[in-house]
Structure formats: C-alpha cells, structure tokens
C-alpha cells in the first residue's frame, strides 16, 4: 500500500483525495476486521466528515498539513472527544471522553483522518493483546499468532494495510515489541518529547506515545507532527519538535554503535542472527561497531515490574464507579467501589494493581519500590556511560518472533520476560525504535532495536533507514 508520505503528497497534489484514501481504508477494515479484531470502534461518519472537510480545504487552495488526508488508527487509550474510549476494559465500556488528547488534536491539525480506536491489552498491560476485555487481536501476518502488545491493534492496523500509520503507547516496549512481531517500524520517543495529555496513564513516568508505520520515513514524518512542548503536560520537554524527516537519509558513516550483549543474549537464534547481520549492515554503511556489555540492564526487568505497577495502582484508583464508566450497585460506597473494580478489571490489571499496592505499602516500600528507584538510577548512569563511548546502541527488540495464542499465558513471568530488551530505555527515559531486519521462524519478521540518548531520534531514524535499505525493504 501507499506510504503516508505518498498519500499526503497525492492528496495535496490532487492525484488523490482524503475521501478516496479513507474509503480504501474503510473497505480493508470492513474486509479484515471481523477476522483480526483490530478496531474496537470505527468512526465511519466522523472520519468521512473530516476527510470531506480536508478535500474542501484543498479545493479552496488552503494548506492542509504534513499528514493531509492520511487515515490514521488510534490506540484506544487515547482520548478523542465524543468517541468511545475503553482502554480495552469493561470498566470504561461506553465512556465517551469530553476532551481530546493533545496528540489527537495534533494529527487532526496536520490533516490526518482518525478512523477509529484499536485494541490493546487492558490498560496497556500486556505483551500480546490477549488481555483485552474485547477479545485478542490476531497477527495479520499469521492469524494463529499474537500481534504483540500492548499496542497490538495499532500494529495490526498497519500490518493489515488498513492504515499506513497509527499511534501506540510504549511503557515497557508496547510499541516496539508489536512493531517487531508485525514487521513494522515502531518508535518510543524521548520521555517528554510527545505530550501525554489525554493518554490514559498506565505508568506515568514511563509512558510515551509514538508512531507505527511500514517505512522509516513515515514514522519520522508522524513523530515530527506529534512532538513538541505541550503546556498541559508538566513533563513535556520545553523545546519544539525536532527536525526528523530531513535527516532520514543522513546515514551512519562515522557513527559509533554499541552492540550490547545484554540486549540480545537469550534470544532465539534467528533473532540473534538478525541482530548480528544488522550490525554488519551498519558497519558496511560506515559505522564503527563496538561490542559492549552493560551488566546493569540485567536488573531492569525487576525494577520495571515494581515501578510500573506501583504507578498504575495509583493511576487506576480513579476507576471507582462514582463519576464515569461502570458501576456495580451495592449498599455502601466501599462495597460499590469493590464490586465495580472487581467486575470491571481483568486478571492482569488486578495482578499489577495488587503488585503495585504491595510495593508501595508501609513496611515494603523501601525493600521494593525504593530499591527499584535506585536500580533506575543505576540504569540511567549505565546508559550515560555507554553514550560517552558510542552514539547509539543496537540489540534485539524481542526474544522471539510472533508467538502463538496462549503460548506465554501460563504464568505472568513468562510473558513479562518478553519485555526484557525493551524495558531499559523506558526506565532511562531515552528513545528507541524497532525496525524489521531479516526473518526468523516460519519466515516471520524479526525486529532489531536501536537505542540512543535523549533527543537522538534523528540519528535513530538515519540508522534505521540504513537497515531498511540493507534489508531490501525500500
């Protein structure tokens, strides 16, 4: 299918129209959504009205922005005014936010056409989209397998060619992991680069909104639109959006790139092979590859699975049946809150709420949450030292290619281990992306991960573009 860059160019030039692009998208959704369960809600009327207004503006000769007429899918933890927003949870079923996320306003302002809300692991907690209260999403490349998660729906929307771009959120790998499993580019930006206002929080100090696309250039294009200071988010970086698209073809000549043992050790052979091949491709493009070890990364999984649940236990307290969403009736307010939360949350969400509540509770705070915050410091320091030696880091995104439904649901740790390579950068607040490189088992795509220091997105895209070309994808 056409890239977002191409669609926007065609719509602007009159070679295509926003409405025509939208109808193509709606047709694919209608054809494939029943099987794949990608969209929880498709806003047909709203999208048609938006597309028509873009076409009208173009007809009047107005300028319509970088994403003119590009259909886009939104992860269903992003608020869009008047559109059902569920976080794939029964506790929010039927809720229509009275306001929009800043990123939603931004993509609309850039001319994009939001077509609907995509499935996710409930409240973004999961790595397979199997934790959705509204059924799992299937991987378009092999419907017997998961698309990854938690942004599985947004990944599948692009992999199934319903849309060329989509928005996800990444707390511990929730964009990069499904991107890898669906053969896409997925980016977790520097913490604070993209506004969190209107993103329903999982773990506030880790969450970032970011793009999915088939091409590196499309992700760069979309992130340029998303980035920039938002006065409604106190943790938004003060500066404006960086220039990214202009640097996609900068290459890696003269760059030092660290190949980090802890970021691929233990992965499947085919994944390791892809990582090593990617290193070779970067070397051939003029980069210097430095083999490195960052032992501190071995502790990040433990720290993450205390910090994220601790924040989540507090972030999800507000779902209490008083102001919006589900209420299960009971005689007194405590019983009502308990009944509502017990009926409204799924098993994984409950598990993490309890884990986080425990980690913060009197007598355990220092041993668990406090200790995890110290490991976070060590992680940040370790990355800082690494980036004094090299410009970027290279590793795997996931330990394996897309796995079958039920393969990792037996116990929580097995699923959590899926995030082992993606978590460290969230703890550090640094950017990282996954780009497809090579294939593994059953010819399924493998994602390799590029990591960089804060605000190094332009360099990451340039390196990803080198791999995209070397892999024969563009």
């Amino acid at each position: 299918m056409k890239s977002a860059t191409q669609i926007a160019a065609d719509v602007r030039s009159g070679a295509s129209s926003a409405s025509a692009e939208l109808e193509r998208t709606l047709a694919v959704i209608e054809q494939r959504n029943p099987e794949l369960n990608v969209f929880l809600h498709v806003d047909v009327e709203g999208a048609r009205a938006t597309a028509a207004s873009i076409d009208a503006r173009i007809a009047r000769g107005e300028s319509v922005g970088a994403l003119a007429g590009v259909p886009i899918a939104l992860k269903d933890n992003l608020c869009q005014v008047g559109i059902p927003t569920t976080c794939s949870s029964k506790i929010l079923e039927g809720w229509r936010p009275p306001y929009s996320a800043t990123v939603v306003d931004k993509v609309i302002a850039a001319g994009a056409v939001p077509v609907g809300k995509t499935n996710l692991d409930e409240f973004a907690m999961g790595s397979s989209t199997e934790n959705s209260a509204f059924g799992p999403t299937r991987n378009p490349l092999d419907p017997s397998r998961v698309p990854g998660g938690s942004s599985g729906g947004s990944a599948a929307a692009v992999a199934a060619e319903m849309t060329s771009i989509s928005l996800g959120s990444d707390t511990g790998g929730s964009i990069r992991q499904p991107a890898a499993l669906c053969g896409l580019v997925g980016v977790k930006p520097t913490y604070g680069m993209v506004s969190r206002y209107g993103l329903i929080a999982f773990a506030s100090s880790l969450d970032q909104v970011g793009p999915f696309s088939k091409t590196v250039a499309d992700s760069a294009l979309l992130l340029e639109v998303l980035a920039g200071h938002d006065p409604k988010d106190s943790t938004s970086l003060p500066e404006g959006a960086p220039s990214l698209v202009a640097h996609v073809n900068d290459g890696v000549a003269g760059r030092r790139i660290g190949l980090v043992r802890e970021l691929y050790d233990g992965a499947d052979d085919s994944v390791v092979a892809s990582v090593l091949a990617a290193a070779q491709a970067l070397r051939e493009a003029g980069a210097e590859i430095v083999e490195m070890s960052i032992p501190e990364l071995g502790l990040t999984l433990s720290a993450y699975y205390l910090i994220a649940p601790a924040e989540a236990s507090s972030n999800l307290a507000r779902f209490d049946g008083v102001r919006y969403g589900l209420r299960v009736k009971a005689d007194d307010v405590t019983a009502m809150m308990e009944a509502t939360r017990t009926a409204g949350f799924g098993a994984e969400v409950k598990r993490r709420i309890m884990l986080g509540t425990y980690a913060l509770s009197a007598g355990y705070y220092d041993a668990y949450y406090g200790q995890a915050l110290k490991v976070r410091t060590l992680t940040i320091d370790a990355f800082t030292r690494a980036y004094q030696e090299v410009d970027l880091l290279l590793g795997a995104t996931t330990p394996s290619v897309a796995f079958a439904f039920g393969a990792k649901t037996a116990d929580p740790m097995t699923m959590y281990l899926n995030d082992v390579f993606t978590i460290p950068t969230n703890l550090a607040g640094d950017p990282a992306l996954s780009v497809p490189f090579g294939t593994g088992e059953d010819n399924l795509p493998v994602g390799v991960q590029l990591l960089g220091p804060g605000r190094s997105e332009a360099q990451l895209f340039a390196a990803a573009r080198v791999l995209e070309v070397a892999d024969g994808r563009a």
């Binding site: 433990s302 008083v322 307010v333 110290k374 607040g429």
Partner: protein, 100 residues
Amino acid sequence: MSDALTRDEVAKVARLARLVLSDAELEVYTEQLGQILEHARDMNTLDLTDVVATAHPFGVTNVVREDVVTPSLDRETVLAMAPHVVDHRFAVPRILGEAP
C-alpha cells in the same frame, strides 16, 4: 525483607486496592505475586545503600502555569457520563467511614 508472600498479605493488599478476591483467586495471586517478588529480590544482590533514588527521568523543574481561569466543562456533558446523578451532583450509596 520477608521471604514468602502470604495469603493474608495479599488479602490486605486487595482490600487496600478495593478488589474482592475469591479463595481460589487469592491462592493463585499469592503464588504469582510471590514469584514476581522473588524475581525482584535480584535487586538485593547489589549494595544500593549510597545510590540516590530516581522517581522520574525528567530533569526539568518549576513547571508552572499562570493563574488564569479557563472554561470548565459543560455540566450536563459531565453529568451524562455519571452512573447516578441527583440534583446536579454525583450520587453514591452511603459512606461508612469518615475521610482521613
């Protein structure tokens, strides 16, 4: 740090989090949370005494807005989201205890 997580501890945590667990769920969660916490004790292999805690990767301070009134939401829109409304207020069943 105590060793194994107990059922009583999990039950207490569930009460704090306003969740009700069946006996079977209590059993499963005690085991699963115990496993995760056991894994977390890896962190104790390091001496972290002198390490400063980082709650947040964000280095900017003093983010403030000016004291300017901006429009509030339309009341009817807000109340339309609520499970139960009486006299333009959010209605809840009786409250058993005082706020702390």
